[in-house]
Amino acid sequence: MFNNAKIKFVLAFLFPLVLVALMIWFFVQKGTLGVLEGNFPPVEKIFVERVVFEPNKITLKVLNDGPEEVTVAQMIVNDVVWKFEMNPSHTLKPLENANIGFYYPWVEGDPLAFKLVSSNGVAFEKEVDVSFLSPVADGKYIRTFVLLGLYVGVIPVLLGLLWFPFLRRLKGGAYMFLLSLTVGLLVFLGFDALAESVELIGEVPNSFNGVGLLIIGFLLAIMVLGVVSYKTENHVTLKGDHYKNLRWAYLIALGIGLHNLGEGLAIGSAYAIGEATLGATLVIGFMVHNLTEGIAIVSPLTRMTDGKERIVQHLVTMGLLAGVPTIIGSLIGGFAYSPTLAVLFLAIGSGAIFDVSYDIIGYMSKKAEKGLFTPVNVLGFLTGLVIMYGTGFLVI
């Protein structure tokens, strides 16, 4: 059945594995032979992922973020020893979760400091800046977050798309200006999402390795879009030029959609923990800010000469693709916010947007006879950045 060569091939693969297994067995049985066997204090870590406020009641969602088992023995709230119920268990193995629930006469708007004390006396602290009734997933709040997503994501993108008739009348330099403007807008968004993702790494439990998530999310988006783009390239080229443009617009819409998922997460969680009050000003700000995303999506379509019959349908689909993730994001952010998810989603969004920008630049360099860095292109690019920066002031 197996010839010699095959057996050798399999053995060559298995031999190192067997050695590794033997070594692990040896260390588990015999210890580390004197290395690092000092009597170190326990390395205990409890991470409070989320604080949920109900009337006269608080729940802490906690995670064992350390390498050792931890038993939570007592809790101190604002320097007062307080009774609590911990489920499923007071003792958590590494990476195990638990809920710590207790009645507490919390005061709306006040800061709170929680201290969990382990059986070894180690204290794990969590501070809440503003005590605020947590949203519950009832009709009212779902409506709020769906509306929020619509206002911030779907409507502005669709409004941006309305420039399509104007934009498609642009010729030559003006068209290149539009494309560079789009790249400017996208690059700004890409860095914005990346920076936000980096900022949130500090809030991710150590065991979940925020940096790792960022790298994976960022590169994953680029790779996946790259593969999609590679796989569809030949296919659409055969079908005609306007498919190519459509595909492109969809990719941009998808990239922006992924970005908006992260943005929705951030908005939803800020709203849920009382850090943002969604006044009219903020909503208007986001609308203006996100209008530009619509422009970015339609720019590849402005050169289409044929296939215009179903264009409205396509535009609506793209608008939804880019905008609806905001709704999903804000729902997740509002009800189940976790910095871990936010880091991942923002990194994915950032990667997606950089990938799309790279595609547009590639397209432009094919078109450009005088090279990419013409005054028009540079001006367009910078204008894109400035527009994003400027409209950013509306969403402080």
Partner: protein, 357 residues
């Protein structure tokens, strides 16, 4: 304990500042009702979240070990808590020609893990395996002889407040006053003077660390000619605290080590009898501690060094190392709280109850 007390205890347990979970004596009948995370609420009081939130204050669960009996500690001195045979290993009295006593004590410094709040364990340094250390009690003019042995891994001493020579100071200040390295032993000897309620503690360095880790105890010298009213009951209370996460701040506070100890096991006294409390403050890190008694007033003798009271009050403040004798006669039957009036300390463990019968 009789049913009446248990009923009173249960009702009061709900309204006290630091709601306890089991105030009955070693009887588990009612534990099930009150042991739940949030205790039951008064009859006629709506069990709404507002009330539940009020009564959820206090420690979670029960003490897991019986490493230290806080009730026994109150009334134990010169190792009187030990059976005769065992006691002889640590304490010996010899009559001297001048009608005073030679009192010999055997002190071992040991490292021991103690439970300072239910389920929270602290790696303490201790005299004879307990925090506070054994209470020493003598009559003015007696001779105290401490056979000191360091069975731990760090240098330690015993430094007594009271008259003694420089070489008995336990600070390493005098050439003959050696700090004891691990395994070493020596003798501290001095006359028990002046009368008063004093303390002793380790004075090797850093002193703040050696005190916060648990090396201290009460040292009471009774006056030879006592003109004060005779006490029916005397209680030793050492106010202390524990920095369980070693960040330079105490996490739990107590009188006699165990947070909320006398909420779990209230102190029983009789109406009208004279109760004398030997109170000392061995708290580290916090500069001020205090003692407040509900519904009753006490005579205060500062450091217990005079035979006439210095004040008649219900609240006193004490700095680090300060002592007082408090004489109180409870006026009515019932349950009365006592706690630090530094409320933060009270709510972090320094609170208890008297049951007046």
């Amino acid at each position: 304990m009789n049913i009446r007390i248990k009923e009173i205890a249960l009702v009061f347990g709900l309204v006290i500042l630091a709601g306890c979970q089991n105030v009955s004596d070693n009887n588990d009948d009612d534990v099930a009702n009150v042991e739940k995370d949030v205790p039951a609420v008064h009859d006629g009081m709506a069990a709404d979240s507002q009330n539940l939130a009020q009564f959820a204050i206090g420690p979670k669960g029960e003490y897991e070990t019986e490493d230290f009996d806080a009730l026994k500690f109150l009334t134990a001195w010169n190792f009187s808590n030990l059976p005769q045979e065992e006691r002889a290993k640590f304490y010996k009295e010899t009559a001297l020609p001048d009608a005073t006593l030679l009192r010999e004590y055997w002190f071992n410094v040991e490292e021991v893990t103690i439970e300072v709040a239910p389920g929270v364990f602290y790696p303490a340094w201790s005299y004879n395996g307990q925090v506070p250390g054994p209470t020493i009690r003598a009559t003015e003019g007696d001779t105290i002889k401490i056979h000191f042995k360091n069975n731990s891994t760090k240098p330690h001493t015993a430094h007594f407040h009271g008259y003694h020579s420089a070489k008995m100071d336990g600070t390493g200040g005098d050439a003959e006053d050696k700090i004891m390295n691990p395994g070493e032993s020596r003798i501290y000897e001095f006359k028990a003077e002046p009368f008063g309620s004093h303390v002793y503690h380790c004075h090797s360095y850093p002193v703040s660390q050696h005190i916060s880790k648990g090396l201290y105890g009460a040292y009471i010298v009774d006056p030879k000619f006592d003109t004060r009213p005779k006490a029916a009951k005397e209680l030793v209370m050492v106010m202390n605290g524990f920095d369980t996460d070693f960040d330079g701040e105490n996490d739990f506070y107590a009188v006699n080590t165990k947070a909320f100890a006398y909420n779990y096991q209230p102190i029983h006294v009789k109406q009208g009898e004279l109760v004398r409390i030997h109170l000392s403050n061995m708290l580290e890190f916090d500069t001020i501690n205090s003692f407040h008694l509900h519904a009753n007033f006490f005579d205060r003798y500062i450091a217990g060094t005079k035979l006439t009271p210095d004040a008649f009050t219900d609240t006193i403040s004490m700095g680090q190392g300060e002592r007082s004798i408090l004489d109180v006669r409870f006026r009515e039957k019932g349950m009365y709280m006592f706690h630090s009036h530094v409320s933060e300390l009270a709510e972090l463990g320094w609170a208890g109850m008297f049951v007046v019968e």
